[in-house]
């Protein structure tokens, strides 16, 4: 693992077994192997170019130093891919990413403990104000949506690989109001499927989670009254269901129990059946392309500084082919830094991350959806304009 822990080292050691086993054990091992594959690919392409000067960031210069980031654990697997890919071209750079969680990452960034933050939520107004103090100059910080991950609704029913559901049905299931698989609400959208007479066991994340937040945001926007618990990070006691730790915990719990249904990072659901979600008149299966489209139909948040790409996702969209349950995670960087070294490092790393190659690396290591070329073209000038103050 290249992620070094700093002040939280002790905590990390104490809890490492919990995290590795209950949390992201499956994710990271998958990530490792695929990262290696990605690394081999890029080293092979370097050999083909055959020139030392070509290795390095896009401006042709290889940067060096240590870049520290902290934040969302949802990005951790993607970050492994990015760091491995980035260090291929910049062997003298050490990138540390401490997956403390979104809130912790923003806190660390704003207090100057990290050069960039990873966060499932964009900076709110207070944090934007604080970022003006934290960053050099008076430009503050910007949010760059670099990580898009479709969240699949996965279930365990023998011989059924896909089911069509509208948002209200999904909400009813997870709120405990729809308790049996042969309920009319499910049957009506799946006329060709023979549904078993079996109790539904909804599985949710027991830990605070950006996945839960995005999932309930979808339910709140698209399901209307069927979901009465608002947008939440922590599952409400009243909604019931089975709780499981981390993405791998949810997948394991669903796989272990026939009749179970859960929501999890789409790259991790494996052989489980998945729900095609109703958008407009059609039912959309999750796919990287369908997930990336959500940013095209969504509005950018208002009252944001120039160069900021905070999105309020329109999850109740009726646009064809859009998969609405997507987790968007941002990189939060300053527009201006104190030192040239920081500027070079952040710029080179962010340019790599949002490049086609970088997005491919995270797609391979974390199953994320690559951002669209259109969005990349819009963000490129912002990253390029990162500079020292004055």
């Amino acid at each position: 693992m290249r992620m070094s822990m700093r002040s939280r080292a002790l905590t990390a050691i104490t809890l490492s077994s919990a995290l590795v086993l209950a949390g992201c054990g499956g994710d990271s091992s998958d990530g490792d192997t695929e990262t290696d594959a990605a690394a081999e690919d890029s080293s092979a392409s370097e050999e083909m170019t055959g020139s030392e000067e070509m290795t390095g960031s896009e401006d042709g210069l290889s940067v060096s130093g240590t870049l520290n980031g902290a934040g969302a654990s949802s990005q951790a697997a993607a970050m492994q891919g990015w760091i491995a890919g980035f260090q291929e071209g910049n062997p003298d750079v050490t990138v540390n990413y401490d997956p403390v969680g979104s809130g912790g990452g923003r806190e660390t960034f704003l207090s100057g403990g990290a050069t960039f933050a990873g966060s499932d939520a964009y900076l709110d107004a207070d944090e934007l104000a604080a970022s003006e103090d934290r960053c050099a100059g008076d430009g503050g910080a910007v949010d760059l949506p670099h990580y898009l991950s479709p969240v699949a609704v996965a279930f365990n029913l023998p011989d059924i690989t896909t089911l069509n559901m509208d948002a209200a049905t999904i909400a009813g299931i997870f709120a405990g109001d729809i308790a049996n698989w042969n309920d009319d609400a499910i049957a009506s959208t799946n006329p060709d499927v023979e549904l078993p007479d079996l109790a539904i066991n909804p599985v949710h994340r027991s830990d605070d989670s950006g996945t839960t937040e995005n999932f309930t945001d979808y339910l709140t926007q698209a399901a209307g009254d069927a979901w009465g618990y608002d947008v939440i990070e922590t599952w409400p006691t009243e909604a019931g269901g089975e709780g499981a730790q981390g993405t791998s915990g949810v997948v394991q719990a669903v796989a272990a129990g026939e009749g179970s249904i859960g929501y999890a990072d789409a790259s991790q659901v494996g052989d489980l059946g998945t729900v095609a979600v109703q958008v407009g008149e059609e039912f959309v299966e999750y796919s990287p392309e369908a997930a990336a489209k959500i940013l095209e139909v969504s509005e950018q948040a208002t009252d944001r500084p120039e160069g900021d790409f905070a999105f309020d996702l329109t999850r109740d969209t009726e646009e064809a082919g859009v998969y609405p349950i997507v987790l968007v995670s941002y990189h939060i960087v300053c527009k201006q830094y104190e030192s040239q070294e920081e500027v070079d490092l952040v710029k080179a790393f962010m340019e790599y991350v949002q490049s086609e190659e970088g997005q491919q690396a995270s797609a391979e290591s974390a199953g994320s959806a690559p951002i669209s070329q259109n969005l990349r073209d819009q963000m490129t000038p912002v990253v390029e304009s990162i500079a020292t103050a004055g």
């Binding site: 809890l15 809130g103 066991n201 019931g240 089975e242 394991q252 129990g257 026939e258």
Partner: protein, 321 residues
């Protein structure tokens, strides 16, 4: 010849050393006394340090703003369901493990041939050496799914008892499975303590019972069990202490529902335990919220302390332990 000569010469030399080196020996004595006293003080200081650390870290939790804790109004409302879950799971585990442990101990001391008893003793002790995370994984992948049909049967036939109320969680990740895993984990300590006290039943009592024509079961009932009672209770209390603090196995096996206080053991909604909740929530809680976890830790610290104190008291009263 040589062999008979050597011991006296050895003795003499030691005596000489002792005589001549009275002063250095006393110095060594002092030094060693100092080291052991230091070790004793160190353990007290460590304990005091832990207590101080917990109190200091948990104080801010009293001033936590409402809604900063998930599914709870304040620190009391947050801790209480967790304490309930901790005690509830530990008690179920204890009720499952103690009879079995007593039976194993009686088998080893009164029924099994001595060779088998010895082997069995090793195996039981070996159970205590398995790391709890292994028990957790075993629980989630093997034990829980294995017991689901049993849960289903009990819920179908005895579902009217609140304890066995449906719906059974299909993965088996419920309070019953968690308690079963803990029961296996605390089995060795109760069994080995029980074995020791049963072995120390005065031979005369047992022989007297036999002389009166008692069967082996009656010997156990009239002589062994009364003698060993307090020792068994002491062992069970030590087991309870371990059950209260069990973390990884519960964190893996139990499907937690924060804020819930409920007795049903087969459903997917279960109260979590303090130790498991600390392990699972720590990465998510930042800053002030973390003090709430320290506060629950302090409550567990005190609870475990009380249980151990009671265990020592009871065990101390026993002649055997």
């Amino acid at each position: 010849m040589t062999t008979t000569q050597t011991p006296p010469s050895d003795t003499t030399s030691t005596d000489d050393d002792f005589m001549a080196g009275e002063l250095p020996t006393r110095r060594q004595d002092k030094l060693f006394e100092g080291i052991t006293t230091g070790a004793g003080i160190l353990i007290l200081l460590t304990l005091a340090g832990v207590a101080f650390f917990l109190v200091q870290k948990s104080l801010p939790s009293l001033e936590l703003p409402a809604e900063s804790l998930p599914n709870a109004e304040d620190i009391g409302g947050y801790t209480w369901p967790l304490l309930f879950g901790t005690v509830y799971s530990a008690i179920i585990a204890l009720l499952l493990a103690t009879p079995l442990a007593i039976a194993i101990a009686l088998f080893m001391t009164h029924y099994a041939p001595s060779k088998l008893a010895k082997t069995l003793g090793y195996v039981v002790d070996l159970l205590a050496a398995v790391p709890s995370v292994v028990y957790g994984l075993w629980g989630i992948f093997v034990l829980a799914p294995f017991f689901v049909p049993v849960y289903d049967f009990l819920a179908d036939t005895l579902g009217w008892i609140p304890l066995f109320a449906p719906v059974v969680t299909p993965s088996g990740r419920n309070m019953a499975s968690a308690a079963l895993v803990i029961a296996v984990m605390i089995l060795p300590i109760i069994a080995s303590v029980s074995k020791e006290v049963f072995l120390q039943t005065p031979r005369l009592h047992e022989e007297a019972a036999m002389a009166l024509g008692a069967t082996r079961w009656e010997v156990i009932k009239t002589a062994v069990l009364p003698h060993g009672r307090s020792g068994v209770i002491g062992g069970a209390m030590l087991g309870l202490g371990r059950a209260l603090g069990e973390t990884m196995a519960i964190a893996l096996v139990l499907s937690p529902t924060p804020g819930l206080i409920g007795f049903a053991v087969f459903t997917a909604q279960n109260p979590s335990t303090i130790a498991a909740n600390i392990a699972l929530s720590f990465p998510n809680f930042g800053g002030q919220e973390r003090s709430a976890l320290f506060a629950t830790g302090l409550v567990l610290f005190v609870a475990t302390f009380v249980v151990n104190y009671i265990a020592r008291r009871i065990a101390g009263e026993s002649t055997g332990y």
